[in-house]
């Protein structure tokens, strides 16, 4: 199909580069430099969407980020689908595939449209609050149908193949917007020697100058822009980012920029390149030069395809060489829109009339239009549009001076395009992101940025300044001020001369009156995407939703993907009028990031898949991999969970590992435990303050287990700490607790007890730790070490230094399994070497690697707790039956002591940890099962406590469990019941948590 609306010449498109694209299954042609929107208009495509609520046909109304209707599904393959792409911002590329997001069977003839016509009147704002209530059970069914109508585009079903990333930027000055004001600000700051970043959402710098026919400094606007861009590019410390939307302005001048790196080239980014990049910018100063959006007027059936905003019409003509129609009626409240009439006429198409709502129109542009012989009708407005799928004509009537009511008879004019302008709204969005409220300016009928604590300056349209010469001046001024505030000498920048126009005063008008009252008049749309009409807003206020937030939420105004860029001000004005307030009294709603939507992938950056979170490995990880370990995630660590052999079930592996340790020898990679090297003459005193037990008498060469509480007396970590020297200790923590404990120690040292002479340094990664456990551990280790391992010289809870497998080592004789155990620590670089040597010698002892699960079973057989599994922040050492580990005789009131003494913490009936033996030894209690005294009691039952650890013990040939029971320590031998989800009730006896070797002889042999 020919591009019937394409001009032979003009615009910034490259007619030598024809592109083919597909829209709703049909092929069209466009040119390099087109957006989807300009190409569709060039091809005479009118309907691009069906409206959300009424399914009315909708066309393109704008040319930029404010477009509410032309929201398409883009993507040639399943994996590259992108929902809700704004056609006015998506550059055309060859082979682009897009389509409307709703309408059945097609967007041109949509069945839902009928329902919209029929049901439309049944759907005032908030109608869903008022119905679908009865009977309650039906809501789910109603909702199914409601959800059928939900959503615009769709998510791809296949996984995204593209890459994204984030770059951290720092600069002296961040300039947002590369229109005349932004370019001048950047240029001035750059010449002053500042580090500058300037970003603009469009494909090239220049802002509205790209679609302007003005002359600047004797050059065309485009050439003037090109010269400035060239100079900016010459500064090494200036970063220019086209196709980059500053979408968020956060506290302390942190801004996020979404740079589109490849969406303009194709579906998918070229290999090794990112599709989109987030720039995380920290700027000393910010200049907002975001310009202004033109406001459409609100009139009857103003949503029929062919109704557009005036400046957009000019943009399509001047930038893209596309005239979106043949016969134009222009309605305006101001002079600036007259340019559109001139552009249309110069494009060789008919301007039926300019309908000016003002009683009298004067000013240079008005005169220019009159000179062209174009009819100008003043004191009148387009009150209604005719046509269904495309404008076929308008009804024009005289209105009173305030624009409140129709005063004259109506006349009909035929046309196919209606351009309207209600003036301009500064783009204040970013300035609101940091909590600053915009302020209303009577003189420009618009909100401008309000007071802020950010180091922010504004220039140009956002400041309500629209005359080009003033805009340029404000840009330079902002650049100079930024430079000065940065301590630089502000450079001088010559202002180019531009034509200045005399302008007549604009009229404040948003909502065009109709001969009928608003509630009965043809629909007058305020928010196109959410089908919010002037009548709806009046109804909302009539029902008592008078606060602007109420109106917005009740009608859904501004909740669309355009976030009300086009409609919000009109909506506020209509609200204000119907509650009899001024616009500033009514106030504005708050704008939030994002300015325009951003792909999740872009925000996630590289932190996906294998880089979502670090995987931490020990020095022996390679061996674990080669020996078929399965892993447990503990914090960020990948710890061997168990080492299955071919054909084994998990339980079989665990049984084998458990038996090996108790009968011969096993080995565990314990490198992940937190380790903290503590030195200083007050180290011992410090330990006494952070642990619940005593440390005064621990001799050099000795180890001791310790419990740590928070000030509330609740256990939060535990571990063995060894005395390496009088002033030297090695503390171990749980794997997950390591970082937290070190920070905890530093906090108390730095803020509470700075007088104590002690230093802490993490050595977690420095030492590789392997636990050799089992009756044969001594024999095995003896083959590789020069340390005398005999029981009388190297006792349980001693540590010794020596060499293991030729490597200097510290060996700790401590045991978490209850067996004779040696924990070998060597510098991690030697970890794998020593580990492999142990296996070379261990074969004859059936040295068996075991993982966390076996470790958990073995310690449970001994009744040792695991902080985090058997504690949950609500148990004291006493609740754990570990009063032996609490030394209240200590002189200093250690952390946790006072907390434990609180009235609720000394109750006798607290949940306390006990051992649990199921009556049927073969039955293993599920962890998390809840105990009751009487399983026959009616629900809700009285719960006594939960099972925290439970396993099958191959060594005891029965199940064992640890769990909490109210007053459990006093209830040894009693029976409790565990009613399970599957209906079973498991009977268990409360017993000591120590199931094996209660005297602790095995570890002392």
């Amino acid at each position: 199909m020919s591009q019937k609306n394409r001009l032979q010449s003009g615009g910034r498109i490259d007619r030598s580069k024809a592109l083919t694209f597909t829209y709703n299954g049909r092929q069209y042609k466009g040119y390099q430099g087109d957006t989807i929107a300009s190409a569709l208009l060039a091809n005479g495509v009118d309907i691009v969407a069906r409206s959300f609520k009424y399914s009315r046909p909708r066309g393109i109304v704008a040319a930029g980020a404010e477009e509410p209707n032309a929201v398409l599904q883009v993507g040639a393959t399943e994996a590259t689908q992108v929902p809700n792409v704004r056609a006015t911002q998506q550059e055309l590329y060859d082979g682009l595939v897009c389509g409307a997001t709703n309408g059945w069977p097609s967007v041109e003839s949509d069945m839902m449209g009928l329902m919209g016509k029929v049901g439309g009147n049944m759907m005032p704002p908030g109608f869903y609050y008022k119905t679908f209530m009865y009977p309650q059970s039906m809501w789910k069914t109603y909702e199914k149908f409601i959800r059928m109508a939900a959503g615009l585009g769709r998510a791809p079903k296949e996984v995204d193949q593209d890459e994204y990333d984030a770059v951290n930027q720092h600069c002296d000055l961040m300039v947002v917007g590369a229109g005349p004001a932004g370019l001048m600000a950047a240029l001035t700051a750059a010449r002053s020697g500042a580090r500058v970043i300037i970003a603009d959402e469009q494909s090239e710098f220049g802002g509205h100058l790209l679609s302007s026919r003005e002359r600047i400094g004797g050059k065309s606007a485009a050439d003037w822009v090109a010269d400035i861009v060239e100079e900016l590019a010459s500064y090494p410390d200036v970063l220019m980012l086209p196709r980059s939307t500053v979408n968020g302005y956060h506290d302390h001048n942190f801004l996020t920029i979404n740079e589109n790196r490849s969406d303009y080239k194709g579906d998918k980014a070229p290999a090794d390149q990112v599709r989109q990049r987030m720039h995380r910018v920290r700027a000393h100063w910010v200049v907002l030069a975001t310009g202004a959006h033109e406001r459409p007027l609100v009139y009857g059936y103003n949503d029929v395809p062919g109704c557009m905003i005036a400046s957009a019409v000019s943009t399509y003509i001047n930038r893209y060489g596309v005239v979106p129609g043949n016969k134009l009626v222009l309605m305006t409240t101001n002079d600036s829109a007259y340019q559109t009439a001139l552009d249309w006429a110069d494009a060789g198409r008919e301007v039926v009339a300019v309908v000016d709502t003002r009683a009298k129109a004067e000013g240079d542009l008005v005169e220019a239009v009159r000179k062209r012989g174009i009819k100008v009708i003043t004191g009148s407005a387009v009150i209604e549009v005719s046509g269904k799928k495309r404008v076929s004509g308008v009804t024009v009537a005289a209105i009173d001076a305030k624009g409140d009511k129709v005063v004259g008879g109506a006349q009909h004019m035929s046309c196919d395009t209606v351009a309207s302008s209600g003036g301009w709204s500064p783009v204040v969005h970013l300035s609101c992101h940091t909590g600053s409220r915009p302020v209303w300016r009577e003189d420009i009928f618009g909100f401008v940025p309000g007071p802020t604590v950010q180091k922010q300056l504004i220039a140009g349209g956002i400041n309500g300044t629209y005359a080009l010469e003033k805009v340029l001046a404000e840009g330079v001024e902002a650049g100079r001020e930024a430079a000065t505030r940065l301590g630089l000498t502000a450079a001088d920048v010559q202002l180019p001369n531009v034509r200045s126009l005399s302008e007549g005063k604009a009229m404040e008008l948003y909502h065009i009156p109709h001969t009928k009252p608003t509630s009965r008049a043809p629909k007058q749309f305020v928010d196109y995407q959410n089908d919010v009409t002037a009548a709806a807003i009046e109804l909302a206020t009539r029902e008592g939703f008078e606060a602007i937030e109420h109106v917005k939420r009740y009608t859904a105004m501004g909740f669309g993907t355009d976030q009300g860029k086009l409609g919000n001000i009109n909506g506020m004005a209509i609200t204000a009028k119907s509650v009899g307030q001024t616009i500033p009294e009514t106030g504005t709603t708050v704008f939030r990031p994002n300015y325009t939507p951003i792909a999740f992938g872009a925000i996630a950056g590289r932190n996906c898949k294998e880089l979502f979170e670090p995987k931490r490995f020990s020095a022996m990880h390679k061996w674990h991999e080669e020996n078929g370990a399965l892993y447990e995630d503990v914090g960020q660590w990948k710890r061997p969970w168990y080492f299955p052999k071919a054909g084994e079930t998990m339980q079989q592996s665990l049984d084998r590992e458990c038996k090996a340790v108790r009968e011969s020898v096993g080995i565990l990679d314990a490198s992940t435990l937190g380790k903290i090297d503590i030195q200083g003459k007050d180290a011992r005193e410090f330990l006494a303050r952070v642990y619940t037990n005593a440390w005064a008498k621990l001799g050099v060469g000795k180890c001791r287990y310790g419990l740590m509480c928070k000030e509330d007396g609740m256990v939060f970590d535990d571990g063995v700490t060894s005395c390496l020297g009088e002033n030297h200790f090695l503390m171990t923590t749980t794997t997950g607790g390591a970082a937290g404990v070190l920070e905890w120690l530093e906090l108390y040292h730095q803020t509470e007890w700075p007088e104590l002479e002690v230093y802490f340094t993490s050595v977690t990664d420095h030492w590789a730790t392997m636990t050799i456990s089992g009756p044969n551990s001594r024999k095995l280790l003896a083959e590789l070490t020069d340390i005398d391992l005999s029981n009388d010289t190297f006792k349980f809870m001693d540590w010794r230094e020596g060499s293991v497998a030729g490597v200097p080592a510290r060996v700790f004789r401590i045991s978490f399994t209850g067996e004779l155990s040696f924990e070998v620590n060597v510098q991690a670089n030697y970890g794998l070497h020593v580990w492999e040597k142990l296996f070379e010698h261990g074969a004859k002892y059936n040295l068996t690697p075991y993982g966390t699960e076996t470790m958990h079973i073995l310690r449970a057989e001994k009744g040792f707790i695991i902080a985090g599994q058997d504690t949950d922040g609500s148990v004291t050492p006493h609740d754990l039956g570990m009063s032996w580990c609490v030394a209240d005789s200590k002189p200093f009131s250690y952390i946790g002591k006072r907390g434990m003494m609180r009235s609720d913490c000394v109750r006798k009936d607290r949940k306390q940890m006990v051992g649990l033996k199921t009556k049927d030894p073969k039955v293993v209690l599920p962890e998390g099962a809840q105990a009751v005294a009487d399983p026959k009691q009616p629900i809700p039952m009285d719960l006594l406590g939960h099972v925290s650890s439970s396993y099958w013990s191959a060594n005891l040939n029965r199940s064992i469990a640890l769990g909490f029971v109210k007053g459990g320590l006093e209830r040894m031998g009693e029976t409790v019941y565990y009613p399970l989800a599957d209906g079973r009730v498991i009977e268990a006896e409360i017993c000591s948590p120590i199931f094996l070797d209660p005297k602790g002889e095995r570890q002392n042999v």
Binding site: H170, Q679, L724, H766, N829
Partner: protein, 222 residues
């Protein structure tokens, strides 16, 4: 070799010092990135690229803690290390094979040949009076050196530090976030940067750097 083995001296042992370096032959030491086989990669890919990476592996790393007010500490360090501890925040000094990074007002990282770590620690302990800490952390970390015209671009993807030359002169040191881990970053030359990273995170950072460098081309160096 170590006092702690001599029972009669036990009572007087204040701090356990230990030569952690193995002198035995047939003992294999593996750096945190050993499994990545960087040397193989290096010999395989001499091709050009914007970023180069090499591991400065198996060096001696000593953490020093002490007060700048403690003259004995400051003098002792200067004497034993042959260069005074940098007291200006975020700076480093380098003398021969020894480099010292400022970490905090009372913490420094000394990097030196592995076989000097024990002697230096002993020397420091002999020379310093009062409150201080010396810890050998050689096994717990490694140094990755990034260089080349795009090294700074890779850093900007990885850390929130401002690495612009005007803000990060040669010799500056800063500890910060690195991807989702941490690193002590030092600019060791015009286009050369050293990252001190923790052993257990080394593989993650290696994966990250390959990913972040792809668009510039990553060259592995010996």
């Amino acid at each position: 070799m170590s006092e702690t083995l001599a029972p009669e001296k036990e009572a007087t042992v204040t701090v356990a010092v230990m030569n952690q370096l193995s002198t035995a032959k047939d003992v294999r030491a593996e750096s945190p990135l050993h499994h990545a086989e960087l040397d193989k990669l290096a010999s395989r890919n001499p091709r050009a690229g914007g970023v180069s990476l090499r591991e400065l592996k198996l060096l001696g790393h000593l953490t020093l803690r002490g007060s700048q007010q403690n003259q004995s500490f400051m003098n002792g360090c200067a004497e034993v290390l042959g260069v005074a501890l940098p007291t200006l925040p975020l700076t480093s000094v380098e003398k021969g094979s020894v480099s010292i990074r400022w970490v905090s007002p009372d913490e420094w990282l000394v990097v030196l040949p592995a076989d000097q770590a024990f002697e230096v620690e002993r020397g420091l302990r002999a020379a310093i009076e009062g409150h201080y800490q010396v810890v050998n952390v050689s096994g717990g970390q490694t140094i990755l050196e990034l260089s080349g015209p795009n090294a700074r671009d890779v850093l900007k993807k990885s850390t929130v530090l401002d690495v612009h030359p005007s803000q990060f002169p040669v010799g500056k040191v800063a500890g910060s976030v690195f991807a989702k881990s941490t690193a002590l970053v030092r600019r060791s030359g015009e286009d050369t940067w050293e990252l001190v990273v923790r052993r257990s995170f080394a593989d993650y950072i290696w994966l990250w750097l390959q990913d972040a460098s792809r668009e510039y081309g990553l060259v592995i160096k010996h």
